[in-house]
């Protein structure tokens, strides 16, 4: 199952609007997506779960994708995070 670790470039990290944008993308993906920080892994499609990770700018998060088109989905999600998820990265 493909996974990759990225540092959050945007000011609010995985809070506020970026958390929503990220969870929405994960929800729309064909496979199951998880995100983890410091060893705690949660369902990336759940904005509530993503919020509980309390990820700030500069934090390293690991995205994992399972199922159909996992590699393509992972690429897309990593690109989304690196773009700042709607905020200036």
């Amino acid at each position: 199952m493909p996974e990759r670790t990225v540092n959050l470039p945007n000011p609010s990290g995985l809070h506020a609007r970026p958390a929503k944008v990220f969870a929405k993308a994960a929800k729309a993906a064909p496979g199951a997506v998880t995100v983890s920080k410091d060893g705690r892994e949660v369902n990336a499609a759940s904005v509530l779960s993503v919020l509980t990770l309390d990820c700030h700018q500069g934090d390293a998060i690991t995205i994992k994708v399972e199922g159909e088109d996992a590699d393509a989905t992972l690429d897309e999600l990593v690109a989304l995070v690196e773009s700042g998820m709607g905020e200036d990265a």
Binding site: L48, L51, D54
Partner: protein, 580 residues
């Protein structure tokens, strides 16, 4: 049947509209069924229906708020909708139903688990989301119990009635549909009242029994609200309805006439100049303040830049905002009060110990000097904005320090300001520096400050609170802190005289200046500038232009001498000013 109730006037103006009773937060006090009655599938289907409806309602609410109040205020409800549709939340609730719980109890448990995780976080942002979760939870539970929750917003122009109104609840109401606000609790200085005044909506607070009276009268009842007298009439007769309709027309005509004063300067009838400036809370106020004819700002509350943030705003961010305000007032003075932050307004990015009595704690200039890093950045941003604005037709920078109690604090802050200017290579020529007089020791000792500053600005809200030992948010005692009390006016008069004797000009910032009668009294005491909520500027300008300086002086001195208390002083002021 017509019912007349009297509350406390909180924001002027008259209104006649349908009653709209805002229910208390739903779901708080009803016992929930503990265990599931039917099979798992039935219970899960109930849950899914409730979650889906909650999501739809919240999305619709977000759209309404976006239209009436703007995208930014709508975001909170968009987030609420996301919470209701969260897959993990649902999974946890479904699991709990499988374990035998009712859908109601299961969703409460699921929300509770997330709430605990968020509330435990050190981040203020996440802790605030924990409270959002409670809102969504209450809505889902109410839906499961078949109770109505669509109480957030009226769909036609209405008089909104509630037991109490938190600022966020008030802000979520569609402004153009609120004819007036009436609450059963609160005081004229509570947040909802201040917000109503700033929005120009008539309001009456502490109007006990109004919800019951409206309920008795039934659906579709009309209500008359008089924000000046505090009178609320339920089911008015035709005679009163016609009278109020006339009054509303007259008020609209008056507003139009006042609008024509916009570009006229603030002065008395005999040409004595008094600057009439606006108090500003956030950039959204700028345009409206200009439209109201504000002559600069006598109080920019910079702390809003720092609140509700998980990280510290950069110097550049601050410069951007300060410049925006300076540019809005070409040729006029803009007084930036350095951030007034205390333990009651904590910042997510500044760790500090809780205090038992934050109003008397490490706040304002005390915090600046104890933790100078944030303060240095703010001063640096202010002088940078000054440099950038110097080449433009912008406003003039003035810097004011909050909660100064002794002169050494002022001197230390001035030293830091000078150091920031030197670091940035900016000259402070033309930058006025002042002290906000709100601590009684600074008011009594004003003379000791005056020679070290360009101006003193009397912050009446806090000065009255500290002078009379009254929590101004506590309706049971708030009346004691009356600016018209002869002791309060006497102290303000002495601060003004002491300021002038030391070569400083003296302004007033605070709610007191927004009352035309009080404003005239303050001018009579010698105030050079009055800074107030923008909504009050046209009315105050009009009244001052109708009065001669000597009349203001005579009225205030007679009133202070003859009046035994605030009520008597006010009556005497009205009589001798020919107002009221």
């Amino acid at each position: 049947m017509t019912t007349t109730l009297t509350g406390r006037p909180a924001a002027p103006g008259a209104a006649l509209a349908l009653a709209f009773a805002l229910a208390d937060a739903p779901g708080a006090d009803q016992p929930l069924p503990e265990s599931r009655q039917g099979d798992v599938d039935t219970e899960v289907a109930r849950l899914d229906a409730a979650l889906a409806t909650a999501g739809e309602q919240l999305t619709a609410l977000a759209e309404r708020v976006a239209e009436s109040a703007g995208e930014e205020e709508a975001e909170i409800f968009e987030a609420h909708a996301e919470f209701a549709e969260d897959p993990e939340l649902r999974d946890q609730a479904v699991e709990a139903i499988g374990g035998g719980l009712s859908a109601e109890r299961a969703i409460v448990v699921a929300f509770g688990a997330f709430r605990e995780l968020l509330a435990a976080s050190a981040s203020e942002y996440l802790a605030a989301r924990a409270e959002d979760l409670d809102d969504v939870r209450d809505r889902v539970v109410a839906l499961l119990q078949g109770r109505s929750v669509e109480v957030e917003a009226p769909t036609v122009r209405s008089v909104v009635l509630a037991r109490e109104l938190t600022p966020s609840r008030t802000a979520s109401l569609p402004r153009e549909l609120i004819a007036a606000l009436v609450t059963e609790t609160g005081s004229p200085t509570s947040h909802a009242a201040i917000l109503a005044r700033s929005l120009g909506i008539p309001a009456v607070v502490a109007c006990e029994g109004v919800l019951a009276a409206v309920e008795t009268a039934g659906d579709g009842v009309e209500v008359v609200v008089d924000g000046r007298s505090g009178e609320v009439v339920i089911a008015p007769d035709d005679h009163l309805r016609a009278e109020v309709a006339d009054r509303i027309d007259a008020e609209a005509a008056r507003r139009e006439a006042l609008g024509e004063l916009r570009d006229e300067p603030g002065q008395t009838g005999d040409g004595h100049r008094v600057e009439l400036a606006a108090n500003l809370g956030d950039p959204g106020d700028l345009e409206a303040a200009i439209a109201a004819g504000a002559e600069g700002s006598g109080l920019v509350r910079t702390e809003f830049l720092f609140q509700d943030r998980t990280d510290e705003p950069s110097v550049d961010d601050q410069v951007g905002f300060y410049l925006e305000v300076l540019r809005a007032f070409p040729g006029q003075r803009v007084v930036f009060r350095t951030m007034d932050i205390g333990a009651d307004k904590p910042l997510a990015f500044v760790a500090r110990d809780p205090e038992e009595n934050p109003a008397l704690g490490l706040r304002g200039i005390r915090l600046h000097l104890a933790r100078p890093e944030l303060f240095r950045d703010q001063l640096r941003a202010l002088v940078r904005a000054h440099r950038a604005a110097a080449d433009e037709d912008a406003g003039r920078l003035a810097v004011m320090f909050p909660l100064v109690a002794v002169p050494s604090e002022l001197l230390a802050a001035r030293t830091l300001l000078a150091a920031a200017a030197e670091d940035e290579g900016v000259s402070l020529d033309g930058v006025e520096v002042g002290v906000m007089v709100e601590v009684p020791s600074a008011a009594v000792g004003a003379r000791r400050f005056a020679e070290h500053v360009d101006f003193l600005s009397i912050g009446t809200n806090d000065l009255l609170q500290y002078l009379f030992a009254v929590d101004r948010l506590n309706g049971a005692v708030a009346d004691l802190a009356d600016v018209c009390d002869p002791v309060a006016l006497g102290l303000i008069g002495r601060v003004i005289a002491d300021g002038h004797a030391g070569g400083a000009w003296v302004g007033i910032c605070g709610e007191a200046a927004s009352d035309p009668v009080v404003a005239a009294a303050l001018v009579g005491l010698g105030a050079d500038e009055l800074s107030m909520t923008r909504v009050a500027i046209p009315e105050v300008k009009d009244v001052l232009r109708s009065l001669e300086l000597e009349r203001c002086q005579r009225a205030v001195h007679i009133a202070m001498e003859e009046g035994a208390d605030g009520r008597e002083v006010r009556a005497l002021l009205e009589e001798h000013l020919g107002l009221g």
